[in-house]
Amino acid sequence: MKTKHTIRLKVLNTVGVMARITGLISQRGYNIDSIMSTPTEIPEIYSVHLVLTETEDKIEQISKQLNKLVDVVKVTDISHNKNYIVREFIMVKISTSKNRTDLLQLIDLFRAKVLDLATNYVVISLTGSPRKIKRFIEAVQPFGIQELDRSGEFAVLDV
């Protein structure tokens, strides 16, 4: 059964490391749901967060193959690991033409942040667990999402 997995990599900040990672995954015939690469507290190390929807054994094979890349220092599948705090950041532009008050109430309920409020739309940002983000998107869907941009999931070890 295919399920969503978030894989966290620590990689050397070398030219082409992202091409190696994405190339490896596409070469083996898998799709990437999201990928994010960011600097860390160590200048030569970057963090890469990958989200893939695949079966357990495929994820294991991808993780092992990623581990073989010389520039990849560490690979962790954090999907079922309680020791990680996982967050995603989103920005959404939502139409206010349907039921503005209800929408603003929802936004408030989720503690999303209003970045701009125009006559016929609102732009908000929200940070939260994957579950919260999912619920929020479901909740505002009926109002009319005009644009949605997501950071992809990222995580930090909490032990």
Binding site: L12, G16, Q27, Q61, V70, V72
Partner: protein, 581 residues
């Protein structure tokens, strides 16, 4: 020192003695630095693919890192097949290519190709060295990565401006610092113990060994284990020579063209212990029906190989030599049981067979048997790809490791002659014999000149069946004998739907290999029957320089045993003679 001098110094520091190369615009600086070079033997090949196969043959025969040097653009693209060949068979080589200068990269400059992009998936690792300060480190790391862990090819692409710029305080690094690269050598003791216990309890255990045994130099450790426990073993194409073929516990090669006993033992064992073998589809056949009764144990240095193709109950990550040594200590001796006796009996009851009538065309199997008989004990056999490769695998009496070099994973036609050249340069005093098809020989035939000029005494034996034999065999067996474009004699006057040799066939075969040999300054010999064969083999082997020996063999001989693609490996075609009998 400038970048070019650093490259050469690094090669020497790494113990490189022979370099296979081909010059071009952007690598002139390196060749210039080699102008008066005496320590390094620089071989000028006639094609970059052959240069890389040369480095590969050198590496497979010695276990050391082979090195090739090519120019940018077409030089780099010509090297690609060689790099991929080495990748699929885990061969340690370093390929250095020139690149357009830094400022031109990305502009579609003259002879610019994205070498690091192209080699990403066909190398173990690659470098684009934009800055001379990074060059010493890249060279050091490249050799380290190529030869350690699971060996493989490493590509280093160097822009020409780096080759001519100067590094003031050059010092070749003593150590590598690679936080993301730490191959596991020692096997986990708990896993080894678990494996030993499982072996002890198994009734029908079987060792399935491969190229990893050769890479690890673990043949002694393997034999210690199997002899102590009387467990039979099979060896893949890449592992041939791990033991003498006559070893009492050896069942032969398994797989598509594997021996009856080897395949049946795989299918019936209750414990299959893979060591340095990767469950390739040429070996397993239909995976879903492979080794149905077996618990799978897998010893491999590459964790990604374990569980890749087959679910594994007992994984042991580590170097085969280390793990087998520990396993040997842990295991208790046990006598040959019923299983062991049964499978070795299957082997003895199913010898390979073919027919060779005294006055008829040469059987390719007979040619191999005579080569085996007449060659020296330490001869190195190098094959090309096709039927002759399988005949060589099956009929040659393999004796020791690193003596059978063959492109298994990529199956690269054109590999044989240049790889034999590389092996011969590594071992000038040993007999190096190429066994090559008439099709594949023409894919790197230009290297005859390289062999002649450098007096590289390769004995290239062509098994000329006038067909692209392996493809013809498939058309024969599975495509209703529709011999589409596999006859190397076919002219525009031939009927396009020809289904085999007939009295109207054109008489001449092109090229005349003996004349081609002679035109290159290589001795050319030909044999068409049993008597001539022994005469020319003896004459060719006695000749001090390179030789081409063309053997005109039966045109439509097929390789048996054969398991049709997609079938389980105990559904074996044994050939017309066996099936009639």
């Amino acid at each position: 020192m400038n970048g070019s001098q650093i490259v050469i110094d690094a090669l020497k520091q790494e113990g490189v003695e022979t370099l296979f190369g081909y010059p071009g615009g952007v690598v002139i600086p390196i060749f210039d630095a080699l102008f008066k070079e005496k320590e390094l033997n620089v071989i000028l090949n006639r094609h970059e693919q052959a240069a890389v196969h040369g480095a590969d043959g050198y590496a497979r025969s010695t276990g050391k890192v082979g090195v090739a040097l090519v120019t940018s653009g077409p030089g780099a693209t010509n090297a690609i097949t060689g790099i991929a060949t080495a990748k699929l068979d885990s061969v340690p080589i370093v390929v250095i290519s020139g690149q357009v200068k830094n400022g031109f990269i990305g502009t579609d400059g003259f002879q610019e190709v994205d070498m690091s992009g192209m080699t990403r998936t066909i190398s173990k690792h690659n470098y684009l060295v934009n800055d001379i300060a990074d060059l010493p480190k890249a060279m050091k790391e490249a050799f380290h990565i190529a030869r350690t862990g699971r060996p493989g090819p490493v590509s280093i692409d160097i822009p020409v401006d780096v080759l001519i710029s100067v590094l003031e305080d050059y010092k070749y690094p003593e150590e590598v610092k690679l936080p993301g690269y730490k191959p596991t050598i020692k096997g986990n003791p708990k896993q080894i113990k678990k494996l030993a216990d499982t072996i002890q309890a198994a009734e029908k255990p079987l060792f399935y060994t491969g190229g990893g045994i050769v890479a690890a130099g673990a043949e002694k450790e393997l034999l210690t284990v199997v002899e102590k426990t009387n467990i039979p073993f099979v060896t893949t194409l890449m592992g041939l020579g791990t033991s003498d073929v006559d070893h009492p516990l050896f069942l032969g090669m398994p797989g598509m063209h594997g021996r009856y006993a080897a395949n049946h033992a795989m299918m019936q064992c209750d414990l299959l212990i893979a060591v340095g073998a990767r469950f390739d589809d040429r070996v397993t056949g239909d995976l879903s029906r492979f080794a149905p009764k077996a618990t799978i144990a897998h010893i491999d240095i590459d964790p990604a190989e374990i569980g890749k193709n087959i679910q594994t109950e007992i994984p042991v990550v580590g170097d085969a030599k280390h793990v087998l040594k520990e396993l040997g200590k842990t295991l208790k001796a046990r006598p040959a049981n019923g299983w062991c006796k049964a499978v070795t009996a299957w082997r003895d009851e199913t010898p390979l067979s073919y027919s060779q009538k005294p006055n008829k065309d040469l059987a390719p199997q007979h040619v191999i048997e005579r080569i085996s008989e007449l060659s020296k004990d330490d001869a190195i056999i190098v094959t090309d790809v096709g039927q002759h490769q399988m005949f060589a695998a099956l009929y040659y009496q393999h004796k020791s490791p690193r003596c059978f070099l063959s492109s298994g994973g990529l199956g690269t036609m054109g590999y044989g002659l240049p790889a034999a050249m590389g092996a011969s340069l590594a071992y000038p005093k040993r007999q190096v014999i190429g066994i090559i098809g008439d099709g594949g020989f023409q894919m790197n035939i230009q290297e005859l000149a390289t062999c002649a000029i450098n007096n590289i005494p390769v004995k290239a034996i062509i098994l000329n069946n006038q067909y692209l034999g392996m493809v013809r065999q498939w058309q024969d067996l599975f495509w209703n004998k529709r011999y589409s474009k596999v006859c190397l004699k076919q002219t525009p006057n031939c009927p396009p739907n020809c289904q085999g040799p007939n009295p109207d066939c054109p008489e001449v075969y092109r090229p005349d290999f003996v004349k081609v040999a002679e035109a290159n300054g290589v001795k050319g010999l030909r044999a068409s029957n049993v008597e001539e064969l022994d005469t020319v083999l003896k004459e060719g082997f006695a000749h001090p320089g390179p030789v081409v020996i063309e053997c005109i063999v039966r045109k439509e001989e097929n390789v048996y045993p054969m398991v049709p693609g997609g079938k389980p490996i105990d559904e074996i075609l044994l050939g017309p003679e066996k099936e009639e009998a």
